[in-house]
Symmetry: C2
Subunit: 207 residues, 2 copies
Amino acid sequence: MSKAAKQRRAPAERPKEILEAALALFVEKGFAATRLDDVAERAGLSKAAIYLYFEDKMALFQGVIRQAVISNFGTVEALAQAHRGPVTEILPRLLEFMASRIEDTPLPSIAKLVIGESRAFPEIGRFYLKEVIGRGLPLLEALIARGIAQGEFRAVDPGLTVRSLIGPMLLAGVWKTVFEPIGGERLDTRALARHHADLMLHALRAP
Amino acid sequence: MSKAAKQRRAPAERPKEILEAALALFVEKGFAATRLDDVAERAGLSKAAIYLYFEDKMALFQGVIRQAVISNFGTVEALAQAHRGPVTEILPRLLEFMASRIEDTPLPSIAKLVIGESRAFPEIGRFYLKEVIGRGLPLLEALIARGIAQGEFRAVDPGLTVRSLIGPMLLAGVWKTVFEPIGGERLDTRALARHHADLMLHALRAP
DNA sequence: CGTTTATAACTGACCGGTAAGTTAGTTATA
DNA sequence: TATAACTAACTTACCGGTCAGTTATAAACG
């Protein structure tokens, strides 16, 4: 190891380090406003070195999104599928789990990036559509359908109901990333999740 | 009028024309990716002429947002305040009105712009926060509070309830502007509005 | 009524800063 | 001494913003 301040000999970690630095900066300043020189500095190497690991800026962005998405997703699937009890009990847990993700991880910032840049980079949007929405929605729809089948819920449209369920969580994410940083008053995402779960259970309860 | 293909002598209309062109391009490509030369071409004049009417690109952006917001807002206020009947009847109308705005106006695209650019241009975000959210939220909260006072609704937190109410509409706007253009399946915003209104009324109904 | 003059509206060509992407060369390790 | 990892310096293209000059209109004048 010697005194090698210039970190060498660990190139396997390099892409991850670059992705981490890029995530922080993309989240902070957006895609266009993030300079590769800054990403490089933060990752502790030169801009040219980034090009050793990523084709171009776009590929780096894609990598960041991919990394953040896959690392933050498996758990939801587990949570929703493992639980075999009454849906009435799962729903509040699920919403509170989402709230914790919104409060404690960069997930909402990622979503904001996707929202803002997917017109310019449709591949990003399609990736998110496929990997997050395409996996998450069916999961939740199945849950609602199960609630109906088990006689807990009235017979509503599962697709629309899922939108009603997660809409406020999207709102919370947008609020946290867009309006709180510029002086909007703090929103208690977990309280919203609990409250919304309560509303939804009242709304869905079979007569 | 003669054959003056070069339009002159109507400078009062010019700012509006420029704003219209800019709106279309900002909505299509985002702020950073929109070239002033393109705005100029679309508005039928030269880039330099834009600077006769707007301080800089940022002021133009601000003008676009301001224009779109004020032209699309007064009606909501009217709708919510004029109606003196039971809140139970107003709520579905209100949601369906929002749905029509989302489907038939560039409002969701504006919102998307604000979401995407407010980190880089906090003034934009604050303007939206003040003019749209600062006016819309209290209006809706008062409506919920009235529903409670009139004995139609159970005693819920009006602030959180309003978030539950409009969350799905935000979701619809995001879906329309972000995911439909890149191959996401069409979402029937009005159906969602009706369905969500139904859920909310069930959720809020006093026992 | 034609001609000059004043000026508002507008433009083409340019400037300067910026940042993505490249390359030729350097350094550390095996 | 071979080579993988890395970098400083460069090239290139773009685009926001400016400015000196041009054109269309209207007012002033003879």
